[in-house]
């Protein structure tokens, strides 16, 4: 039986990827950011997950206004790195895990989640930056990745509650897979930030830290955050935090907090990061 053993929440700020790719991780601006992930890299290197499920949003890279799905699951063998205007990041392509991905699709669609099946898509910083901060700069990623994409760009976007329930459905699917696999799920994006308009640069530490606290001790409390509240209180792009709810929904109600990191700023964004492990049963 496959099992989701832990969840990782992390921002996916493109500038973090650029800092890594351009060898700027030692600069005073970036050093504290990467320091926050040192323990995480050790943790995941020791854990050696067989598969990671990475919940992220496509930033108008694989999808456009021609077509935008609410939820998608990548079932492909491999995903190229998107060219977001500055050339593709110099990181390895992402290898998928079609067996488990299709199994998840089978199960989750029958549980009334209306997924888009995605076999061919380029993956953007939303996915590649979390891989970089957790796995560093290997010549290939240490395990297969199942991309789960969530629309947080074109409104209407799904509610936090719906995302949390998707996490529960994914967990159920993973647990009915007939091979022994150790799975880690990533929820990415956020935390407070706003990229555009005259209010760009908004950060709300209180909101972010309350969100992190709730994530550990009272995940249900985060489910009541409305879209309006994310936007008003924590910036237009804080809506990405609904993707952390997918991750949290896929874990046990009770979890151990292994690591937490919070830092302002990286580019326009409050970097938040947390590692949660299910208690061993």
């Amino acid at each position: 039986m496959a099992k989701i053993v832990a969840g990782v929440g992390t921002s996916h700020v493109p500038a973090i990827g650029a800092a890594l790719d351009n060898g700027r991780t030692g600069e005073p601006y970036w050093k504290p950011v990467f320091a926050g992930y040192e323990k995480s890299k050790e943790w995941i290197a020791k854990l050696k997950p067989d598969v990671c499920i990475a919940v992220y949003n496509d930033h108008a890279s694989a999808f456009s206004l021609e077509m935008f799905p609410t939820f998608g699951v990548g079932a492909g063998e491999e995903y190229p790195i998107a060219d977001e205007g500055w050339g593709p990041r110099p990181v390895p392509p992402v290898k998928g895990h079609p067996d488990l991905a299709w199994h998840i699709i089978q199960s989750v669609v029958q549980d009334d989640f209306d997924l888009c099946i995605c076999n061919k898509m380029a993956v953007d910083h939303g996915l590649s930056v979390p891989l970089s901060v957790m796995f560093g700069q290997p010549s290939e990623w240490p395990c297969p990745i199942i991309p789960v994409i969530v629309n947080v760009v074109v409104y209407p976007v799904p509610t936090g509650k719906r995302c949390y329930m998707l996490g529960k459905a994914i967990r159920k699917a993973v647990e009915s897979f007939d091979k022994d696999l150790k799975v880690v799920i990533f929820g990415t994006g956020g935390m407070s930030h706003q990229l555009a308009g005259q209010r760009a640069g908004l950060i709300n530490k209180e909101f972010d830290n309350r969100f992190l606290d709730n994530l550990v001790h009272d995940p249900a409390a985060n489910l009541d955050i409305t879209h309006l509240e994310y936007l008003r209180e924590a910036g237009a792009e804080a809506i990405e935090l609904v993707m952390w709810q997918v991750m949290r929904g896929a874990l046990d109600d009770e979890v151990n907090e292994i690591h937490r990191f919070y830092h302002v700023p990286a580019s326009n964004t409050a970097v938040g990061h947390i590692i949660l492990e299910n208690k061993k049963s």
Binding site: P14, A15, A18, H59, A60, S61, S64, L65, E66, A82, D83, E84, G85, W86, G87, V153, V154, Y155, P156, S192, Q194, L195, A196, G197, Q198, R199, A200, G201, L202, I203, N204, K205, F207, L228, L231, R232, E233, A234, A236, V264, P265, S267, N268, A270
Partner: protein, 132 residues
């Protein structure tokens, strides 16, 4: 639409809802083409000519040509789409955010280093009434 009316009260913020997605369709789809290097070259070679492929409004084309990033957003652009134009220009998201919201790059950088823009006083348009 009534369903979104509440968003309109957030100051200095444009939510990319149905009205914006419709208004900005061609502006944003132009930006998508900049994901190919050969298109970036073609655009840079003759920007006005390149834009003629896309049936956008004159105001939208003008906003693009003059790199008026707030105007693009107000005319239906979305930051993840216009971000491709920024990248084509060699600009980061932070540089564009500064252009949209601060007097200078330096001012914006300092604000972010000091913890970012506070939510206090920035929740509702009513709080911005007395701004210039």
């Amino acid at each position: 639409m009534p369903i979104n009316a509440a968003y309109e009260d957030i100051p200095g913020t444009v939510v990319f809802d149905m009205d914006r997605a419709r208004q900005g369709y061609h502006l944003n789809m132009f930006c998508m083409t900049l994901m190919k290097p050969e298109n970036r070259v073609a655009f840079k070679a003759n920007e006005a000519e390149y834009l003629k492929q896309f049936p956008m409004t004159e105001a939208q084309a003008k906003a693009i040509l003059s790199r008026d990033w707030n105007a693009m957003i107000n005319l239906g652009g979305n930051i993840y789409f216009t971000g491709k134009l920024a990248a084509t220009d060699g600009l980061s998201f932070q540089q564009v955010a500064a252009k949209m919201s601060a007097n200078s790059q330096e001012e914006y950088l300092q604000m972010m280093l000091a913890g970012g823009r506070s939510v206090e006083g920035n929740r509702s348009k009513s709080e911005w009434k007395n701004r210039g």
